[in-house]
């Protein structure tokens, strides 16, 4: 029991609240506990899904909710919707019209019903407080460029502006001219007929952006226009080229101009050769994400292998966060990477074909990932792939003591695998598993562990309905939700595996807003249908 005075002080002083799972606690409870908060961050669906600040992640947000926010919070300052859906540009129009003090509107990775680009015109002419605007997810066919230009022109404090693909290249120069103070900029489509006047206009305008540190966008890149950004490259710390479908030579040229890069997102067009150049040019690199250009192709379309990752792990001493999609891997490479870079905090490797073995020895990749967890003592996040047996989970349970999030797919042989993780990983908060032969035994044996975690997701595994019911019965502080589109789980034998299982701790009790194919296992050991 915490000291009561501290409890009270905390209560009245807390300004920022983070709710990692919106169903773990109820709004009433939050308000009662922290009546004076000004900023709230809420996360909804799992990952495999301030009165002044609201951050919502993976939640369904309707236009009505946006209206409610707009009307209820007069001094509303920051709205960040991350991977949300369910709202349209109509809702945005209400926010724009009502929130006179809005500083930040960030719609990163949302799915928005794009009814009209004219929502931008709803920002009144008197409105000048915008500091950050991210509308890169919008698809608007008809973009209201003049409204955008005027908005940018009168908001002299604008630091972050991320446009959407609909904004053509020749409009960017005008927009940038109004905002030379930008620190982060996301272009729209980066393609146009090659014209010297458009090019020099663009290059000139980029040169005048002395504060620019981060660039993104670059849909549909025409390589001829890339040099226009060279004037700002030496100051760039973050570059997102993950939509840029340009080939390795152009990527190499670009990356060679950016010695201060700390964060790079890029497609696998960069290839091993490009990553080698990156390793020698960008010694400050901290985060690298390499996305697949052709994730569903059966054959590799680019020459990107484990070698690229080995090169950056060797050449970039500050590299700590990696997301890497490739088609082959070896234990040898993973061990080398682990030895080179023990400072990894996030290591996510996706070998595209499930259950791919070490391409040199045809063995499972247990030893390779084992090395990662053994050498990288501060590893907080790990995603596994390739051919893996229960062995790898033994390594993880033994060594990954700081691991907070683990993603597993198509791996393991038996319940022992899951048991190693649940019993060994002391810091584990989020575990997501798909298509693994993990069943009832490990889950039930480690039921108490689940209360120490935020959530567990298991889909296409071997957990029976009976086990789910038992868990629901015995663990009142856990919400055990069975997600199954085949119909009510009690219409099948009890030992039948459930399709998807989502377990999370909660002090708010079971929720009641589930869609029809989600069932809560509760203490009554019956179903709430």
């Amino acid at each position: 029991m915490v000291c009561k005075s501290w409890y009270e002080i905390e209560r009245w002083c807390r300004r920022k609240v983070f709710v990692g799972n919106c169903y773990a606690v109820s709004p009433k409870m939050v308000i009662r506990r922290f009546p004076e908060f000004r900023s709230i961050e809420l996360k909804g669906k799992p990952h495999f899904a301030d009165f002044n600040l609201i951050r919502l992640k993976r939640m369904v947000v309707t236009d009505e909710s946006l209206e409610l926010i707009a009307k209820s919070f007069k001094n509303f300052k920051v709205l960040v919707l991350s991977s949300c859906e369910g709202f349209s540009t109509d809702g945005l129009a209400v926010i724009a019209a009502s929130c006179k003090n809005l500083k930040e509107l960030d719609l990163r990775d949302c799915e928005v019903d794009d009814l009209s680009a004219h929502w931008l015109s709803h920002f009144p002419e008197t409105y000048t407080s915008l500091v950050s605007l991210n509308i890169s997810c919008l698809g608007s066919d008809e973009a209201s460029f003049s409204a955008l230009e005027r908005l940018v022109g009168r908001c002299t404090n604008l630091k972050t502006l991320q446009l959407n693909r609909a904004v053509p290249l020749d409009k960017i120069a005008n927009i940038l001219r109004h905002a030379p103070q930008l620190v982060e900029f996301g272009t729209g489509t980066y393609t146009a007929d090659v014209r010297p006047d458009v090019y020099s206009d663009l290059a000139g305008v980029f040169s005048s952006c002395k504060e620019l540190k981060s660039l993104s966008g670059f849909w549909d890149v025409v390589p001829d226009y890339l040099p226009a950004i060279y004037p700002v490259c030496s100051k760039l710390t973050s570059l997102n080229l993950s939509y840029a479908t340009i080939q390795s030579p152009d990527l190499i040229k670009l990356v060679s101009h950016c010695p201060n890069l700390q964060r790079l997102l890029v497609l696998d067009y960069i290839e091993d050769s490009g990553l080698e150049v990156l390793a020698s040019s960008c010694k400050d690199l901290q985060e690298l994400r390499v996305f697949p250009s052709d994730p569903f192709g059966a054959e590799p379309n680019v020459s990107l292998t484990e070698q690229g990752l080995v090169a950056v792990s060797l050449g970039c001493p500050k590299l700590q966060s990696v997301l890497y999609f490739c088609r082959r891997m070896s234990n040898e490479a993973l061990v080398t990477i682990a030895r080179n870079r023990p400072n990894f905090t996030r290591f996510r490797l996706c070998i595209i074909e499930p259950k791919t073995a070490d391409y040199l020895t045809l063995e499972p990749l247990d030893v390779g990932f084992g090395a990662i967890v053994q050498y990288c003592k501060d590893l907080k996040r790990l995603s596994l792939s390739g051919l893996l047996t229960d062995r790898v989970f033994e390594y993880i349970g033994t060594y990954a003591k700081k691991l907070e999030m683990l993603s597993v797919a198509f791996a393991g042989d038996s319940d022992l695998g899951l048991h190693h993780v649940l019993s060994g990983c002391e810091s584990l908060r989020k575990l997501e598993i798909r298509d693994c032969p993990f069943g009832d035994k490990a889950l039930l044996a480690n039921a108490a562990k689940l209360e120490t975690m935020r959530s567990l997701w298991m889909s296409s595994c071997a957990v029976s309905f009976a086990a789910c019911k038992l868990l629901g019965q015995k663990m009142p502080r856990l919400n055990v939700e069975v997600i199954d589109e085949r119909g009510p789980p009690d219409s099948r034998p009890e030992n039948c595996p459930v399709d998807k299982l989502y377990i999370y701790r909660s002090i708010a009790g079971p929720r009641f807003d589930m869609p029809p194919f989600v069932w809560t296992m509760d203490e009554d050991s019956g179903l709430r249908l």
Binding site: K45, F48, A49, E85, D109, E111, V112, D113, D114, C137, G139, S140, D141, R165, A166, T189, T191, W219, D220, S242, Y243, T245, L267, F291, P292, S293, D294, P295, F296, G297, A298, N301, F325, C350, I352, E353, P354, K355, T356, L362, F410, R434, P437, G439, S460, C461, A462, E485, R486, G487, P488, S491, R492, P493, N495, C496, P497, P515, P516, F517
Partner: protein, 248 residues
């Protein structure tokens, strides 16, 4: 043999999709899959015992269907008690491409199709030509089909012409496209899809009680019956019931 297995597999793989018709970045495959466990197919292909994870499905006639085309497995796996709700789901992954890209994409699709059929026996060390695994690799919807998007980029300003969706059916020799803008309701789309694949005619129920949906009337029954519910996978990999989101 592989071809036969895949035909019997009856997978209609369906993937997610895009709610906003105008979303230019999003694109993903369309393949239709009767919601069997994808893991089953992978399990069979890779020779691993996934018995425990096999679905207990009952089809009309009460015969359980298990691993794709593998008779020994299906004879020994657990059977359902016959009662079921949404026993199989038909899901659509929507793929929005402009008209001009049709040629390129059809070429891609044909290539994919033929890869699946010619299958695997070439290189034993290599996994057999895979069926599309749902939600794998874990890329968000707007990152799928970057290559196809590249071809489209010059045509695409989003509002031209059709909202085209690729539809593929395992075992079918080619894929089709439908223009979403032609339909005013999910029912109309269902009917159109049924007609579209009606040219693949085969027998009725096969010996193992597996539905042969290549037959038009059977497909119509499938699409119209309450046993089958259309759903789609959203960008988080969650399966969403069709009809929740208004057609518009």
């Amino acid at each position: 043999i592989k071809e036969q297995e895949e035909t019997e597999a009856k997978a209609i793989q369906i993937g997610s999709k895009d709610r906003s018709k105008k979303r230019v970045e999003a694109s993903c495959f369309v393949s239709m899959e009767v919601g069997r466990k994808m893991a089953n197919m992978l399990g069979t292909d890779h020779d691993l015992n996934f018995k425990e994870t096999e679905l207990c499905l009952g089809l009309p006639g009460g015969i359980a269907v298990v691993a794709a085309g593998n008779e020994t497995e299906s004879s020994s796996s657990p059977k359902t008690n016959g009662k079921r709700g949404f026993s199989e789901t038909v899901d659509l992954k929507l793929n929005l491409q402009s008209k001009e890209s049709t040629m390129d994409l059809n070429k891609n699709l044909d290539d994919n199709g033929s890869k699946e059929k010619s299958g695997s026996a070439k290189d034993p060390a290599k996994p057999p030509a895979k069926a599309q695994v749902v939600g794998w690799p874990p890329v968000r919807s707007y990152r799928k089909n970057i290559m196809a998007n590249q071809k489209n980029s010059s045509e695409e300003s989003g509002n031209s012409g059709a909202a085209l969706v690729k539809v593929s059916m395992d075992g079918a020799p080619y894929l089709r496209k439908v223009d979403l803008k032609m339909y005013k309701s999910y029912q109309e789309l269902s009917d159109a899809l049924a007609k579209m694949f009606s040219s693949f005619t085969m027998g009725n129920y096969g010996p193992q009680g597996m539905i042969d949906f290549m037959n038009e009337s059977k497909l119509m029954d499938l699409l119209n019956s309450s046993d089958y519910v259309p759903s789609y996978e959203d960008k988080d990999g969650d399966w969403m019931l069709v009809g929740d989101v208004p057609w518009q």
